[in-house]
Subunit: 205 residues, 2 copies
DNA sequence: GCCCCGTATATCAGCCCGATATAGGATGGG
DNA sequence: CCCATCCTATATCGGGCTGATATACGGGGC
């Protein structure tokens, strides 16, 4: 699954410009998938060349001109095929958690700031999801069970993250160990890790 | 924060080969950060050129030769600086959730298989974390509060995901709506989206 | 008048992912 | 005894994505 597939997916809901598609990603996939213009425009160009979408340009009436993309029947078919064939992955890439892993190397006030930032971000994302859920302008096209499932999933996971941070942030303020000069501690650990490495252990063993 | 920084971080625990570093990522960061050889080896080469690590080659005694990397003092310093300067991001890229969003387009048995796979994967990751937590070969170097925090975070979030899937998977089996021939429904939705698009709404509005 | 923001399209360098190649030793089944 | 498979270990490459940047028009605030 790549950005091309995502664009096809967005276009199953109707015509849209590249700009619209990005907005759609931000509104409904912000917590689980994002794509920038650098991916979207080339994807749409390829899809056009492959005849999976058609495009027409509308001169800007109060704004720049719009290039409106529309799914073809062939496009709808490949999308469904791709959906069925995709081996779904689920990846998290969190510099936040890496920083937390090395928390003892951070100044306490910076640590606090990072945790507060993360909590704010979670709240922001939760609000985005709620905004998406609340937007039902068309009584004939309410959210699909799939969309509801994804929203609920995001809310559940982020609530768990938020709760965990609130419950355990105090534990990050280095208890025990490393009571005296830090250099000695670091050296001792390094020496030990060397031995472990020789014995085919992992660097942190 | 890039793979270079991650390698520096791994090397704060002692000497290691590129292979060791990947194993370290898999053992302690698997649920929040991963890097392949295609990132690690070039990163180590650059770090060597920048004098942030030194390297020595040990001819293979029962195996291929090993190139062992070691952090220099300059390397330790840049790592700490980078830690303090990093603006932490937390990104999820889930093809799984995208598929769930479009669940109504999937055959029911495929949907079930995907959900089961996801649950299995979560269990596998939980076991990995527990294995990492349980590995305390060195009584002088127990896991840091940071490492414990990250493990707990992973467990909390994945438990929430697992619970959510168990509780809501039945809701994905298309209730109401789309009772008759599918084509008509699709066309109706498409037409509506066109109108919405003209009014600067999102494609799914 | 000016600046900033929102809409809209587009490109580019740099980084990362996944696949692939190579190679020796251990392990184990037929 | 041999072959297949796996683990250790290093390294490269193409394709894809991210984030930054450029361009341009219109509206609103000051």
């Amino acid at each position: 699954m790549d950005v091309k597939d995502l664009c096809l997916g967005a276009l199953t809901y109707g015509e849209a410009t590249g700009y619209d598609i990005k907005k759609f990603f931000e509104s409904s996939f912000s917590h689980c998938f994002l794509a920038g213009y650098g991916s979207i425009y080339p994807a749409l160009a390829e899809l056009t060349a492959e005849r999976f979408v058609t495009t027409r340009t509308v001169p800007g009436q109060g704004g720049p001109s719009r290039k409106i993309y529309r799914l073809t029947e062939a496009g709808r078919k490949v999308f469904l095929t791709r959906l069925r064939e995709t081996v779904p992955q689920h990846k998290v890439k969190s510099e936040f958690l890496v920083l937390m892993h090395f928390a003892e190397h951070l100044p306490p006030e910076r640590l606090d700031a990072i945790l507060d930032e993360r909590l704010d971000d979670i709240q922001r994302q939760l609000k985005l999801i709620q905004a998406f859920e609340g937007r039902v302008t068309d009584p004939d096209a309410p959210h699909s069970p799939g969309a509801r499932f994804v929203c609920g999933f995001g809310k559940a996971v982020m609530a768990a993250a938020s709760d965990y941070i609130h419950a355990h942030r105090s534990g990050l303020r280095r208890p025990g160990r490393q009571a005296n000069g830090s250099k000695k501690t670091v050296r001792a650990r390094t020496k030990h890790a060397q031995t472990a490495s020789r014995n085919r252990g992992y660097p942190n063993a």
